[in-house]
C-alpha cells in the first residue's frame, strides 16, 4: 500500500521517524544514565558470579594443564591397547616437571577422582622415577607397579583430557561416567543427592501448600475488615518481616525442642506423657513449621493485594443471583484471586526451594535441603566446582518451574500488588 511505503515528513521536510528519534534521544540517554548504576550493580553482583559459577562447574583444565605433552601425544592413541612409547615418554617429562613444582600430589588427587588407585601408584612412581634411565620409559614405568601396565588407568588419564566436563552435574544426580564412557547410576547405598533433590521439592511443595492454606483466610480477612482492625492485623503479618531470620528460627528452636514450650504444654494438658515427648525439631517437622511461618508473609501480601481489588459487591451479586455462599465463593471470588495465588505460590516455592538457614538450624539430618549440601561442599570439602554445579542445577530447576507456570497459568496473570 502506498501509505505504508511513503515516508511521512515533518513540516521542515525531515522524515518523521528521524525527527522523532532526534527528539527522543536526549530522553533515552537520560533514562539510561538513571538506570546505569543499577545495571552495573546487577552485572557485577549477579551476572558475573553466575557466569563464574557456570565456568567453575564445568572447568576441568587443571589436569589438562598439568599433562600438556602427554595429552598431545595421546591424540593419535586409539585407547584399545597400551599407549606407545611416546606417550610414556611425554608422561615422564610432564611428571618430572610436576615433581619440580611439587604439584604431583594434586595430580594424584585429581586422577583419583576419576579412578581409584592412582594415589598409591603415583607416589610410587615419584620415588622410583628418580633413578630412571634415559630411554625406554614404557618398560621402566610399567615396572614401577602393575597398574601402570593396565590400559584402564591410561584410559582414565585420557578421559581427563578435555578442558571442560559435565561430571559434576552427573555427580549431582548420583550418576557417573564409567570406563566405557556410559552414564550409569552410582551404587544404591551411595545415592545421597537424589534423595536431597526430592526432599527439597517435597518440602518446598508442602510449605507452599501450608502457606496457601493459612494465608488465604488471613488475606481475605485483611482485605475485608474495616481499616482500624485490618491495619493491626497487617502489622501482625509484617512483624516477622521486621524480625531477624535468625531470631525467628531460634525462637522456633525454643518452642519446638523436646524440653520446649510446646512439648511442656502438651505434657501439661496430658496429650503426651513426660517421657514420651514429641520430636518436632531436627527433622522434617521442624523444617515444615519454621519455613511455613517464615514464608507466610510472602503468600499473604500478593493475595491481599489481589483481594483488595475485588469489590465486595461481586460476592453479593453472586448471592443475590441465587448462588449459595459456597458457590458464590467458588465461582466468583476464587477465580478472581488466582493471579494472587499464582504469585504467592511461585514466590514461596522458589524461596523455599533454595532455603538454607532455617533447615540448617532446625532441620537436622532428615530436614536438610539441597542448599545445605551446596553449603557443605563450599565450606567443608571445598569442592567449589561441585557446589557450583548443584547451584546451577537449582537455578535451572527454578527456571523450569517458572516456565511451567508461564505455560499453565501465564506470567501476565501474576499480580504482586
Amino acid at each position: 500500500m502506498s501509505s505504508e511505503n511513503k515516508q511521512i515528513l515533518t513540516t521542515d521536510g525531515i522524515p518523521l521517524e528521524v525527527s522523532l528519534k532526534k527528539a527522543e534521544k536526549k530522553n533515552k540517554i537520560k533514562a539510561f544514565l538513571l538506570v546505569a548504576p543499577l545495571l552495573l550493580f546487577i552485572i557485577i553482583t549477579y551476572v558475573f558470579p553466575i557466569g563464574d559459577m557456570l565456568m567453575r562447574s564445568v572447568d576441568d583444565k587443571m589436569v589438562t594443564e598439568m599433562l600438556p605433552k602427554t595429552y598431545k601425544s595421546m591424540e593419535t592413541w586409539d585407547g584399545e591397547e597400551l599407549p606407545p612409547e611416546e606417550v610414556f615418554e611425554a608422561f615422564y617429562f610432564d611428571f618430572q616437571r610436576l615433581i619440580e613444582e611439587e604439584r604431583e600430589g594434586k595430580l594424584s588427587t585429581q586422577l583419583n577422582y576419576t579412578k581409584n588407585g592412582f594415589k598409591s601408584i603415583i607416589k610410587k612412581l615419584r620415588r622410583k622415577s628418580k633413578s630412571f634411565e634415559e630411554g625406554n620409559y614404557k618398560e621402566q614405568i610399567m615396572a614401577v607397579h602393575k597398574r601402570w601396565a593396565d590400559v584402564e588407568y591410561w584410559r582414565a588419564i585420557k578421559r581427563r583430557a578435555p578442558a571442560y566436563t559435565y561430571q559434576k552435574y552427573l555427580k549431582g544426580m548420583d550418576m557417573y561416567e564409567n570406563e566405557k564412557g556410559e552414564i550409569v547410576n552410582v551404587a544404591e547405598d551411595r545415592r545421597v543427592h537424589r534423595i536431597l533433590w526430592l526432599r527439597t521439592l517435597e518440602i518446598a511443595f508442602f510449605v507452599t501448600v501450608f502457606c496457601f492454606l493459612m494465608a488465604y483466610p488471613i488475606a481475605h480477612l485483611l482485605a475485608t475488615l474495616p481499616m482500624k482492625y485490618s491495619n493491626l492485623l497487617m502489622i501482625c503479618v509484617l512483624l516477622p518481616f521486621w524480625t531477624s531470620l535468625l531470631v525467628r528460627t531460634a525462637s522456633w528452636m525454643i518452642l519446638l525442642q523436646q524440653q520446649g514450650i510446646v512439648n511442656d504444654f502438651f505434657v501439661m494438658i496430658g496429650l503426651v506423657s513426660d517421657d514420651n515427648r514429641i520430636e518436632m525439631m531436627f527433622n522434617k517437622t521442624g523444617s515444615y513449621v519454621a519455613m511455613t511461618q517464615i514464608l507466610l508473609p510472602f503468600m499473604v501480601l500478593p493475595l491481599y493485594s489481589v483481594m483488595k481489588t475485588i469489590s465486595p459487591s461481586l460476592m453479593r451479586a453472586g448471592k443475590s443471583l441465587g448462588g449459595t455462599p459456597f458457590i458464590a465463593f467458588w465461582k466468583v471470588y476464587f477465580p478472581l484471586t488466582i493471579p494472587g495465588i499464582g504469585a504467592g505460590c511461585l514466590l514461596v516455592f522458589i524461596l523455599a526451594i533454595g532455603y538454607y538457614i532455617t533447615p540448617a538450624l532446625v532441620g537436622g539430618a532428615s530436614g536438610t535441603l539441597i542448599s545445605n549440601q551446596i553449603a557443605f561442599h563450599m565450606k567443608s570439602t571445598l569442592d567449589w566446582s561441585f557446589a557450583s554445579a548443584m547451584g546451577l542445577m537449582l537455578l535451572s530447576g527454578v527456571l523450569v518451574i517458572y516456565w511451567l507456570y508461564n505455560k499453565l497459568v501465564g506470567i501476565d496473570n501474576i499480580k504482586l500488588g
Binding site: S313, R316, G318, K319, S320, L321, G322, G323, T324, K331
Partner: protein, 361 residues
C-alpha cells in the same frame, strides 16, 4: 394489573449499626406488585440500608420485612429470589456476558437449551444481541449497565432492586438508560425498588417515590404530587427548586393563613401549621411566581433584580424580595418584551394556594 397492595411490606423496621444511632427509624412501607418505587434521599439517609435489608445483606435490628406475605428476615439472600443491580454493576469480570447471565440459571439447575432462550431474551430486551461472547471489560459503561440489568432479570424474579445503577454514567447516557429501564419495567411488569439520590431520575422513572431523610420516609407519593404538594420543608427543598420565606403565622382562616415576615406579610396555604404564633417556612416553586401579575393574584410584591442568568430556553432571575435576596424566578424566553434588567424594580405575584406554609427549618 391484578396486584397485591403489599407485595413488599416493611413493618416497623429499625436498623442500627453501632447500637447508638438509628439509620432507619420505624420504617413503614408497602410496595404494590408491579410498582416502580424509588427511594430518594441524600447520602446517609438510610435508603441504601433499606435496600440491603430487603436484599438480605443486612438484617433489621427490629421489625420485619414481608415479601409476598412471608417474613424474610431469616431467609439468606440466595434463597430470596430477588434480582439486584449494583451501583458499580458487579459483573463478574472473569466471565463472558453469556456466562454472567447464565450464572443465576445454572445455580437454579435450569436445562441449557431453556437457559439459552432466556439469555437470548434478556439480551434482546436490553438490545445487546451479539455481545454474548464479550468480556465485561470489553464493554462500555452503558453496555455493562445493560448487562447488569439483563442479569438481574434473566431468572424472572418477582422483585428487582436497583442501587443507584446509573450513578457512574455520563449525563446523556444516564437519561437514555432511565427511559430504557422504565420501558423494560413497563413491558415485563416486574416490581422494581430503585435507590437514587438524583431527584430528576426519580421523577422520570417512578410510580411512587419515597423521600428519605434522617432514617425516615418524609413523604411517599407520586412524582407530581411530590413536586406540587410537598408535605414538609425538607421535601420542598430536596425536590426541585424552591423559594422560601421564614416567618410566623399571624392568622388562619378559610384555608388561608397570613404569615408575618420580618418587614412584610404574605398569604399562604397552611399545610403543617395549625394556629397563630407558629413559626413556619413558606415554600413557593419558582415557576409559580409571575412578573407583572394579573390583579387576581392575592400576593403581589415589589422586588429588585439582582442577577440575570441566561439558560437558553429560559432566563433565571434572582430578585431581592421581601428581605429574601435569593428569590428565583424562571422566565420563558418567548416573553422577550418584559423589561428584565439588572437593578430594575419589578412587580411579582403568586396565588396563596401555591405558597405552602410548612414546618420551620
Amino acid at each position: 394489573m391484578a396486584s397485591k397492595k403489599d407485595f413488599v411490606k416493611f413493618d416497623k423496621v429499625d436498623k442500627s449499626y453501632d447500637g447508638k444511632i438509628l439509620v432507619v427509624k420505624d420504617l413503614q412501607l408497602d410496595i404494590a406488585e408491579g410498582e416502580f418505587i424509588t427511594m430518594l434521599g441524600p447520602s446517609g439517609s438510610g435508603k441504601t440500608t433499606c435496600l440491603m435489608m430487603l436484599a438480605g445483606f443486612e438484617t433489621p435490628t427490629n421489625g420485619e420485612i414481608y415479601l409476598d406475605g412471608n417474613a424474610i428476615s431469616s431467609i439468606p439472600p440466595h434463597k430470596r429470589g430477588i434480582g439486584m443491580v449494583f451501583q458499580n454493576y458487579a459483573l463478574f469480570p472473569h466471565m463472558t456476558v453469556y456466562e454472567n447471565l447464565a450464572f443465576p440459571l445454572r445455580v437454579r439447575k435450569i436445562p441449557k437449551d431453556e437457559a439459552d432462550k432466556k439469555i437470548d431474551k434478556a439480551l434482546s430486551m436490553v438490545s445487546l444481541q451479539g455481545f454474548a461472547a464479550r468480556m465485561p471489560g470489553q464493554l462500555s459503561g452503558g453496555q455493562q449497565q445493560r448487562v447488569a440489568v439483563a442479569r438481574s432479570l434473566v431468572f424472572d424474579p418477582q422483585l428487582v432492586l436497583m442501587d443507584e445503577p446509573l450513578g457512574a454514567l455520563d449525563k446523556n447516557l444516564r437519561e437514555s438508560m432511565q427511559y430504557e429501564i422504565k420501558h423494560i419495567h413497563e413491558s415485563i411488569g416486574v416490581t422494581v425498588v430503585y435507590v437514587t439520590h438524583d431527584q430528576s431520575e426519580a421523577l422520570t422513572m417512578s410510580n411512587r417515590i419515597a423521600v428519605f431523610n434522617d432514617g425516615k420516609v418524609q413523604q411517599l407519593s407520586s412524582p407530581d404530587e411530590l413536586y406540587e404538594k410537598p408535605v414538609n420543608s425538607f421535601v420542598a427543598e430536596f425536590i426541585g427548586e424552591n423559594n422560601t420565606f421564614a416567618g410566623e403565622v399571624s392568622d388562619i382562616s378559610d384555608g388561608r393563613c397570613k404569615v408575618k415576615l420580618a418587614n412584610a406579610e404574605i398569604l399562604a396555604n397552611p399545610i403543617s401549621v395549625k394556629g397563630k404564633g407558629e413559626k413556619t417556612t413558606v415554600s413557593l416553586r419558582p415557576e409559580r411566581a409571575l412578573i407583572n401579575p394579573s390583579d387576581k393574584m392575592d400576593n403581589i410584591h415589589n422586588g429588585k433584580i439582582e442577577e440575570v442568568i441566561y439558560h437558553g430556553d429560559h432566563t433565571r432571575v434572582r430578585i431581592n424580595l421581601l428581605g429574601n435576596p435569593e428569590f428565583i424566578l424562571k422566565i420563558p424566553n418567548s416573553s422577550s418584551n418584559l423589561d428584565i434588567k439588572l437593578g430594575n424594580e419589578i412587580k411579582i405575584g403568586w396565588n396563596s394556594g401555591d405558597a405552602r406554609a410548612l414546618d420551620p427549618k
